[in-house]
Amino acid sequence: MSNYVILTKTAHRDTKVILDRSEAYGDKVKIALTFPQEFRNVQACYPIFFIKDGDTGQFYPAAIFGFEDNENLFLTDQGWDATYIPMMIRRHPFLIGFQPGPNGEKAEDNPVVSIDMDNPRVNGEKGEALFTEEGNQTPYLEGSIAGLEAIHAGHEQNKVFIEALLANDLLEPFTLEITLNDGSNNQLLGFYTINEEKLRDLDGDTLSRLSKAGYLQAIYMQIASFARVRTLIDKKNALLLQSQ
C-alpha cells in the first residue's frame, strides 16, 4: 500500500530515492498512461494504444511494454532497456496533489508535491538526495517536480485530445493476434487505435483544427508507433529462446 505525505524540506532533508529499474521497485508493468506531449519520445520505443480505464470507462493513451499482465519486456537484469522511459513510470515515488492553501487559495490552484514513504525506492542511504545541505531542492527533485507538473497538464490535455478523437469517430477497437516462434498465440485485447479510414476522410476544416491543436501530430505518432509491436514480438521471442 502507499503512504503519501506532503513533501517538506524539514521532514525529508535526508530522504533519498533509488533510481534503479527493477521488479522490486514496481517496474514490472504491462502498460503506462502517456500523454501527447511525450508521444514523440514514446513512439520511438513502444507501441501507443488507447485503452479504457476500468473504473470510469474513459479512454486514455498508453505505452505498451508487454503482452500479459505484469509483463514488461523492456525490463532486464541490467535495468530498463530503452532510450526513453515514460513520465508516469519516472514519477514514482512522487505524486501531485491539491489542497486548500494557507492563505485561502482554492485546492485546484494550490498543487502540492507528495511522496510515498512506503515506496521501496524511498530510504535514507542510497540514491538521489532531494535537498542539498543548504536545504535547497536538488536538480533531481527540481526535475521530478517539473515532471509532475507536465503530468498534471498532460491529464488535462488527454481529456481534450480524447474528446476530439471521439467527436470525429477516430477511435476503433482492435485485437492484435500474434503467433510467436514457439507457435503459441498471444492476443492483445481491449485496445483501441486510430481509424485510419475515418482519418483520411476528414474534411479540410477538421484537419486544420486538429493540426492547430497539435492533435494531428499526436495522431500520426500513434499510428507510427504500431511499428513498435515488432519490438515487443522480437523481445518476447528472444525470451522464449532463452528459456528453452
Binding site: K52, D53, G54, D55, T56, G57, Q58, F59, L166, L171, E172, P173, G190, Y192
Partner: protein, 530 residues
C-alpha cells in the same frame, strides 16, 4: 399512376406514438423521394398530439429488443439512462406463483433474458431433470439469475453502449421516455410535431381517411394514419368501429392499482428483475428505477374487491418499504378490458399500442408489440395505395398470431400454479385454457420445449422462455421411453456445460458492479460508443 405513400400521420404522443415515429423515421429519411423531383412530394412524418390528454404512463418494462430499437434511432444510451430514470432489466422474478404450501419460502423462480448455455445446439432441459433436486433450472443453465439476485449489473462501465456481458432490457419512466423520444424525433429525425385535438375525420371516396380535422392546426392530410391514441382508439375503434375481441375468458385481470414508492435510502440497491408476486386474485409488480420504485396490483374485479386489492397492495408496500411509504402512496386506478381489436390495419389506418389492444403486463409485452408493429410498418411501408391492402393483410395475420402467442404464454404462468382460491382455480379450468396451449402442455409432459416448437423464425417467445417458466414452476417432463443412441455423448456435453456455466457465473460475480454503482458511473462518466 397510383399515388405514392409519402405522408404518414401518427395520432397520439405517448410512448407508443413517439416510438412508432422514431422507428419509422430511423428507416425512412424524412424529405426523401426517389420517384419525384418535386421536393414537396418528399416523405413526411407527422405526429399529432393532444395538448389536453395526459399519457397513461404505464409500461415501465422493456424487452432486450429496446436496445437495438434505440440504437437504430441514433439515441445515445448514456443520454437515455440520464433522461429517463432508466435501470437495467434482466428478466422477471416470480414469487409465490406456485403456491406457498408447496415450496415454502422457496416459492420463487426467475425468467432471465439470457437463453440457456449453448442453446443453439444443445438442449440442457432433459439433463437438468436428473439434477433438479440440487439446483434450480435458471441457475443451472445461465449466470443471469444468480447475478441479478445479487443486484449486479449486466455490464461494466467500460462496456460500450448497448453491448453487454449479460443480455438486458430496461425499466424506465414512461413519461420521461416519451419526452426523450419526442425531442429526438423532432430535433434529429425531422418528425413534424403538431399539438392539437382531433375534432373530425374526412373520408375519401374509397373509405380511407383522407384527413383529420383539428381544433387549432387545421386539417392534416395523410396517406397512412397510425392510431396511437391509446385505449380510446380514435381512428380504428371510434371511426372504423373495428370491434374489440375480449380475451377475458383466458386472462381475467382487468384492473390495476398503481403507485410510486420512494426508496428507504437513496443508495438502496436497485433490483434488475421485475418482481412479480402472486396475490389472492392477481399479482403485484415491483419495478426498480434509480429514483423510485413503481409498484402496482393487477387483479380481476370479478374475483376481488377494490378494497381488498388495495389492502394487499398496501401490505406489500409496507412490508418492503415501510409503513410511512404505504401511508403516503398515491394510488391510481386503471381499468382495461383484456383483449385486442379484430384487426389492426383497416383501409389506410393501422393501430399500435393500447389502441390495438392491451393485456395485463405480466411479461411486459406492451412496448415490445409497439416496437414490432412499428418495425414492420417501417420495413414494409407500402409504396402506394394499391400495395397497402397486401401489406395490411400480412400485418393483421402476423399480429393476430402474436396476440394468440402472448395469451398462451401468459396463461401458462397461471395453469401451472397450485395456489388455492377461486381465481386460481378458475385459471386452471380447462375451459379457460386456449386449445393451442393445452396441446403444447400435453406434449411437454413427454418432451421439453425446443426449437421445433417455434413455428416462425420471429416467434415472440422462444422455446427457452417456455423452459424457464415450466421448469421454474416445477413442471416435470418425463424421460425418453427409448434409449437414444446419442445419449452418452450428450450427457457428457451437458455435464461440462453445467460446469462451464458455474465457472462463468463466478467470474461474472467477481467482475460486475452493482446496478446502483454502474448507473451512478453512467451519470458521472457516460458509456463509450465503442
Amino acid at each position: 399512376m397510383e399515388k405514392n405513400i409519402h405522408r404518414v400521420v401518427i395520432l397520439g404522443g405517448g410512448s407508443a406514438g413517439w416510438l412508432t415515429a422514431g422507428i419509422i423515421a430511423a428507416e425512412h429519411a424524412v424529405g426523401s423521394n426517389s420517384g419525384s423531383s418535386d421536393p414537396s412530394d418528399g416523405f413526411q412524418l407527422i405526429l399529432v398530439e393532444s395538448p389536453d390528454i395526459s399519457t397513461i404512463g404505464v409500461g415501465e418494462g422493456t424487452w432486450p429488443s429496446m436496445r437495438s430499437t434505440l440504437q437504430k434511432m441514433g439515441i445515445s444510451e448514456t443520454e437515455f439512462f440520464r433522461e429517463c430514470s432508466a435501470s437495467f432489466k434482466q428478466g422477471t422474478l416470480f414469487k409465490n406463483w406456485l403456491g406457498s404450501d408447496k415450496q415454502g419460502s422457496h416459492d420463487s423462480y426467475i425468467h432471465p433474458f439470457t437463453v440457456p448455455q449453448s442453446y443453439a445446439d444443445t438442449n440442457l432441459a432433459p439433463h437438468w431433470q436428473l439434477i433438479r433436486d440440487q439446483v434450480n433450472f435458471a441457475d443451472a443453465v445461465c449466470p443471469q439469475s444468480a447475478l441479478a439476485e445479487g443486484y449486479q449489473a449486466p455490464k461494466k462501465i467500460s462496456t460500450p453502449e448497448y453491448a453487454f456481458q449479460l443480455n438486458y432490457g430496461y425499466h424506465l419512466d414512461a413519461g420521461k421516455f416519451a419526452e426523450l423520444l419526442r425531442a429526438h424525433c423532432v430535433d434529429k429525425l425531422g418528425v413534424i410535431h403538431i399539438k392539437a385535438n382531433v375534432e373530425g375525420i374526412n373520408s375519401a371516396a374509397n373509405g380511407d381517411i383522407a384527413s383529420i380535422v383539428t381544433d387549432r392546426a387545421g386539417t392534416v392530410e395523410g396517406d397512412l394514419f397510425v392510431d396511437c391514441s391509446g385505449s380510446r382508439s380514435l381512428l380504428l375503434g371510434e371511426h372504423y368501429q373495428v370491434p374489440m375481441r375480449s380475451k377475458r375468458q383466458y386472462l381475467f385481470n382487468n384492473t390495476a392499482l398503481a403507485a410510486q414508492v420512494p426508496y428507504g435510502a437513496p443508495e438502496d440497491p436497485i433490483q434488475s428483475f421485475t418482481l412479480s408476486t402472486a396475490q389472492s386474485a392477481g399479482w403485484i409488480w415491483d419495478i426498480g428505477l434509480p429514483s423510485r420504485r413503481g409498484i402496482g396490483h393487477v387483479y380481476s374485479d370479478a374475483h376481488n374487491t377494490e378494497d381488498r386489492a388495495r389492502e394487499e397492495l398496501m401490505a406489500y408496500i409496507e412490508a418492503s418499504a415501510g409503513k410511512q411509504a404505504a401511508d403516503q402512496a398515491m394510488v391510481r386506478k386503471i381499468q382495461f378490458e383484456p383483449g385486442h381489436r379484430a384487426e389492426f390495419w383497416h383501409k389506410n389506418c393501422v393501430a399500435i399500442g393500447m389502441s390495438a389492444g392491451f393485456i395485463e403486463p405480466l411479461e411486459a409485452s406492451a412496448l415490445v408489440l409497439v416496437e414490432l408493429s412499428a418495425a414492420m410498418i417501417a420495413e414494409q411501408l407500402p409504396a402506394n395505395r394499391k400495395t397497402m391492402d397486401l401489406v395490411a393483410k400480412r400485418f393483421n395475420d402476423k399480429f393476430l398470431y402474436r396476440w394468440d402467442r402472448i395469451i398462451d404464454f401468459l396463461k401458462l404462468h397461471y395453469i401451472l400454479s397450485q395456489r388455492e382460491g377461486q381465481y386460481w382455480q378458475d385459471h386452471r379450468d380447462p375451459a379457460s385454457i386456449p386449445d393451442h396451449l393445452a396441446e403444447q402442455v400435453a406434449l411437454w409432459r413427454h418432451q421439453s420445449p425446443w426449437h421445433r416448437d417455434s413455428a416462425h423464425v420471429d416467434e415472440l417467445f422462444p422455446s427457452a422462455s417456455f423452459q424457464y417458466v415450466l421448469y421454474g414452476m416445477g413442471f416435470e417432463t418425463k424421460g425418453s421411453t427409448t434409449a437414444r443412441r446419442s445419449e452418452q455423448q450428450a450427457y457428457q456435453r451437458a455435464g461440462s456445460l453445467f460446469q462451464e456455466n458455474a465457472k462463468r457465473t463466478q467470474q461474472l460475480q467477481a467482475s460486475l458492479p452493482t446496478n446502483r454503482e454502474l448507473i451512478n458511473k453512467i451519470y458521472s462518466y457516460g458509456m463509450q460508443k465503442i
